[in-house]
Symmetry: C2
Subunit: 239 residues, 2 copies
C-alpha cells in the first residue's frame, strides 16, 4: 500500500489497523511474533507515526496485538478474542444466561468428547490426566478450580481436531464464570469423578462413553443453575 | 468514581472505557441509546477530555459504541461483537475451517430448529416465511443471497428462546461467508426447498420435522465444502 485510498469513510487509523492485520496474516506471523516497529510500519504504509500509533492502539484494544514495554509490539496470545466476544454483557437476566450457556454446552461438548476419543494423541491424554489431578487437588484444598476447569474443557476441545470448537469452548465456558458467581456452589466430588471418566473414556477410545460422561458432567452443572433460578424466583415472589 | 485508582497497571483510558461500559450496563442503556457527551463524562469520571476521547475510541473499536457525526455517541447495534469475535482469521486452512464451521452448525442448528418449533410466535413465523420468499427471489434472479440466508438462520435462532444461540448463530454463519467464497457454488433449489421445509415445520409445531429439515439443509452445505476440499487436494497433488 504505497498510498492510501480513503474509501467508504472508514477513519484512516482503522484502515491502517486493517492493513497491519492483513500484514500479520499474509506473512504468517504466529502468536508471540514481533511485528515491525513504528518507524518500519510508517515507511511501509506511508502514513504518519501518530496514525501508526493510533492503529496499534486499536489492535491492542481488539486483543490482536500486545505491547511489551522496552521489547516491542507482538501478536497477542488472545488472537483477537476480546473479553466478551459474543456481547453477553448485554444480556440482562444473568441466571437465565447461565442456563442458556449450559444448554449450548449440552449441544456441543458431548459431541466434542466423542471427537476427542477419536483424535487425541497419547501426549494430549497424558496432559489431560495431569489436569484432572490438578483440579482434584484444588477442589480438595478448597481453592477456586474454575480456571483449571475451563483449561481441561479447552484441552478436550483441542483434541477434537475441529479448529472452531477449540476457540468456541473457552469462550462459552469462561462466560459462565464471568457472568455468574458459581464458586460457592461447586460440585466437588461429582466434578472430580465425571472429569476423570471423560478423560479415561477418551484414553480407552470409547467415544460413546466419553459422550455419556460429558452429558453426566453437564447435567450436574445444569442442576446447580436450575436450583439457583428456582431460589431467585421464590425470593422475588416473597419480596 | 470521583477519583481513579491506578490498579494493576491497566492504562487509564482502558479503565475509563471499562467505567463507561459499566455505566451503560448499570443504567440499562439499550442499543441505539445516546450516552452522555464528553463534557458530562469528564465531570462524572474526573479525568481529562483527552482521556475520555481515547476511552470512547477504544469502545468504538470494540464495536460497543458508535459515533454519529453531529448527533453524538450511541450504544452500537453490534453490542460489542467484533468482525471476527472467535479469532478465526488466524486459522490457516480456510477450506478445513469452512468444514469445521459446518460441523459446529450440525451440532447446534438442528437442536435450535426444534426449540424454535416450541417457542416461535405467529408473528415470528410470518416474518420467517417472508424471509424465505425473499431468498427465493434472490436465488431465482441470480443475485447474492448470503446475507438474507444468514438473516433467516438468525431469525430461527431468535425463536429458540436461548439468548446465547441468538448471538452465536450469526457469528458462525457469517464466518463461513467471510472466510470462504461460496457464492458461485450456491445450492439454489435445495436451499429454497429446505428453508421452506424448516419454517413450515416450525409453523406446524413439528419439532422433529424442523430438526430433520435443518439436518438436510446443512448436509447439502457440507457436501459443497467437502467437494471443494477434494478438488483442492487433487489440484495440489498435480502441481
Amino acid at each position: 500500500m504505497s498510498s492510501l485510498e480513503f474509501y467508504n469513510g472508514k477513519p484512516l487509523a482503522e484502515q491502517v489497523a486493517d492493513y497491519i492485520l492483513n500484514y500479520i496474516i499474509d506473512n504468517n506471523l504466529e502468536v508471540g511474533a514481533k511485528i515491525p516497529n513504528e518507524f518500519e510500519l510508517g515507511k511501509m504504509i506511508n502514513v504518519s507515526r501518530t496514525t501508526i500509533r493510533e492503529a496499534i492502539k486499536i489492535l491492542v484494544s481488539r486483543q490482536i496485538l500486545e505491547i511489551r514495554r522496552g521489547a516491542g509490539t507482538f501478536v497477542s496470545e488472545r488472537q483477537g478474542i476480546t473479553d466478551d466476544p459474543l456481547g453477553l454483557t448485554f444480556v440482562k437476566d444473568k441466571t437465565k444466561l447461565a442456563l442458556d450457556l449450559v444448554s449450548v454446552r449440552l449441544m456441543l461438548e458431548p459431541e466434542i468428547a466423542m471427537m476427542a476419543a477419536d483424535h487425541a494423541t497419547p501426549e494430549q491424554i497424558g496432559e489431560m490426566k495431569l489436569q484432572c489431578d490438578q483440579i482434584e487437588e484444588l477442589i480438595k484444598s478448597g481453592r477456586d478450580h474454575m480456571e483449571a476447569d475451563i483449561r481441561l474443557h479447552t484441552m478436550i476441545a483441542s483434541c477434537s481436531g475441529n479448529s472452531v470448537v477449540e476457540k468456541l469452548i473457552p469462550v462459552i465456558n469462561s462466560s459462565i464464570a464471568v457472568f455468574v458467581d458459581v464458586t460457592n456452589r461447586a460440585l466437588g466430588q461429582e466434578t472430580i469423578e465425571t472429569h476423570r471418566e471423560i478423560v479415561n473414556c477418551i484414553a480407552e477410545r470409547d467415544a460413546e462413553g466419553a459422550k455419556c460422561a460429558m452429558y453426566m458432567h453437564l447435567i450436574y452443572n445444569r442442576r446447580v443453575f436450575r436450583q439457583l433460578e428456582k431460589e431467585e424466583k421464590q425470593l422475588s415472589s416473597i419480596t
